[in-house]
């Protein structure tokens, strides 16, 4: 299925990725080729088949609820980008208006 420019722009928006004009154009062509190739899956009859999310035979793995050491606040915050730490918190831009 050919994929158009508007779809690429929409999906890039869903994925929260800013693309350049050149990237939009290039990806439109390249992803059409890839989607054409995956289109062939439609020929496989899967009407009676359930999907596999994982090949692992495990379900609902549980562990004992025991207290164990974790990262300290400083360790957890140590990789905050420049200007991205405020005391014991990560600092982000305001998202609520009108306060």
């Amino acid at each position: 299925m050919p994929i158009d420019r508007a779809t690429i722009v929409h999906v890039a928006d869903l994925a929260r990725i800013a693309l350049t004009e050149e990237e939009i154009e290039r990806f439109t062509g390249q992803l059409s080729v890839v989607l054409d190739a995956v289109e062939r899956l439609k020929a496989v009859d899967t009407s009676e088949i359930s999907p596999t999310a994982s090949t692992l035979p495990l379900v609902g793995v549980q562990r004992d609820d025991v207290i164990r050491p974790g990262l300290t606040t400083d360790e957890a915050l140590a990789n905050a980008p420049k200007g991205g730490r405020d005391g014991e918190f990560f600092r982000v831009q305001e998202i609520l208006e009108g306060r």
């Binding site: 994925a15 693309l19 390249q30 062939r40 899967t46 088949i49 596999t52 090949t55 140590a78 905050a80």
Partner: protein, 483 residues
């Protein structure tokens, strides 16, 4: 000592005969690594390596039995190392220093192995040529105008060029086995659930496994013994008892039934590759194995299944790179724009391509037609392997349809790049163990033979690989640089 010994086994014996010590091995390896001209390393941690080597020498003096004690190794830079920068080959993790180590690193630390540093890779392990690294491509030591394969290209080259005695990689669709094939070393992907993924940067979580690059099959089993086993920090690790994976290495293949799927000998595969693999099959037959024609009719659809499931899982996993808690942040006028700019600048072209493909496959209106459809065909592919393993002990195939190709040759043609992995990715889709080992040269470049076993049957897989290795000397061929 001029260069490293070839194998872990040889080095371990030399350490115990006091012909060398861990510090000397580390220094020899670091010297070779610093002289590297293939862009193999993203970081060398000399002081840490030497400290680990001194500690290993203490242990060796006390008679430590761990075969990995004092053995220098290379870590793919997608595996987290406490206090040592981890980039995943991406600019978006700029400046990130993990506050904890991956479980696999902790296990090798506990075994006394010596970490030399972090190796180059395709960004977030997305690639088959190592050209997608934000830090430049890795070159193949056999011929420097060729790719080493990917995504674990740096780890493959570190071992092929004699700069480390083993390396860790990750394999989501072939990222250990394909570069092992293209650089002439042994590369192994364990059964899904064998090895902890805790602390490893997540790519496609239902497919990713960590595994080793080595110069021999026995070495591969030795490293796996240290890696395998349940980890309370990764609920997808199987609760299986620890296992002697070398118990069948010497048994040979006499009387074994080895499946040869006709779908793995396709038009478009290089003649030299086909010749080397056919020769290898004949050798296994000479050793007493019975070759059985089998059919994996859905092999052809593996690529489509893989290129829906893998980008879908990746697009979810890579949502975490938002510029808030670590890595790059490119500030915009509001938070949404900060996300978009951070990700637009931080991710390279292949990562963006897959994010968009994956997001598309998961988006409203396409989820059932693409993602769920792929998961259903995944079930059929797995069932087909299950049926084949009722008839055979292992499956033997080529690892990759070509030898190492030229740097730049496929970079603008994603589909042709993705085809590099058609023989390896069905193994990930089905969660099976697979190993690639050298089976000769074509045009002077290495060809890989892949042995696939049923789930948790790594000992059987190693048995077949070891029998072939014993009967031939392809594994002794080295690129001139390492000679």
């Amino acid at each position: 000592m001029k260069g490293l010994p070839r194998t872990i086994i040889e080095a371990a014996a030399m350490l115990r005969r006091r012909e060398t010590n861990a510090l000397e091995l580390a220094e020899v390896a670091l010297r070779a690594a610093h002289a590297d001209t293939f862009n193999t390393w993203l970081l060398l941690s000399d002081e840490r390596a030497k400290a680990q080597a001194r500690a290993a020498d203490e242990r060796l003096r006390a008679g430590d039995a761990s075969l990995l004690c004092g053995i220098p190794w290379a870590c793919k830079d997608i595996i987290g190392t406490k206090g040592v920068a981890t980039t995943a080959g991406s600019k978006i993790l700029e400046g990130y220093v993990p506050p904890y180590s991956a479980t696999v690193v902790e296990r090798l630390d506990a075994a006394g192995a010596v970490t030399l540093g972090k190796t180059n890779l395709d960004e977030f392990a997305m690639g088959s040529s190592n050209e997608n690294s934000a830090f430049g491509p890795v070159k193949n030591p056999w011929r420097v105008d060729r790719v080493p394969g990917g995504s674990s290209g740096g780890s493959a080259v570190a071992v092929a060029a004699g700069q480390a005695l083993f390396a860790l990689g990750t394999d989501t669709g072939g990222s250990i086995r394909q570069p092992a094939a293209l650089t002439g070393v042994v590369g192994m992907k364990p059964t899904y659930g064998r090895v902890s993924r805790y602390g490893v940067v997540a790519f496609a979580s239902s497919l990713d496994q960590v595994g080793p690059f080595t110069n021999s099959v026995e070495d591969s089993a030795i490293v796996c013994e240290a890696l395998f086993g349940r980890d309370p920090n990764d609920a997808t690790t199987m609760p299986l008892p620890s296992e002697d994976l070398r118990r069948e290495l010497g048994r040979g293949v006499k009387g074994m039934r080895l499946g040869v799927p006709k779908e793995f000998f396709i038009e478009g595969m290089e003649k030299g590759v086909e010749r080397a693999v056919r020769d290898a099959l004949r050798e296994l037959e000479r050793q007493g194995a019975q070759l059985v024609d089998v059919s994996l009719s859905l092999t052809d659809h593996g690529l489509a299944v893989y290129y829906l499931i893998q980008p879908a899982e990746a697009s979810a996993n890579l949502a975490r790179y938002d510029g808030v808690r670590y890595g790059l942040r490119v500030q915009g006028p509001d938070l949404l724009e900060t996300y978009r700019r951070t990700r637009g600048k931080g991710f390279g072209p292949e990562v963006k391509r897959r994010m968009i493909l994956g997001t598309y496959a998961l988006s409203a209106g396409y989820y059932d037609a693409y993602y769920v459809k792929a998961q259903k065909v995944r079930t059929l592919i797995k069932q087909e392997f299950d049926r084949v393993f009722e008839k055979v002990d292992a499956i033997v195939t080529p690892t990759s349809p070509t030898v190492a190709f030229k740097i730049g040759q496929k970079v603008n043609d994603p589909l042709s790049m993705y085809l590099n992995d058609i023989f390896t990715l069905p193994v990930n889709i089905s969660g099976l163990p697979g190993i690639s080992l050298p089976c000769g040269l074509s045009d002077g470049l290495p060809v890989g033979l892949q042995v696939i076993a049923n789930s948790y049957q790594e000992a059987t897989m190693f048995r077949v690989a070891a029998a072939y290795e014993r009967a031939t000397n392809h594994h002794e061929l080295r690129p001139e640089v390492a000679a």
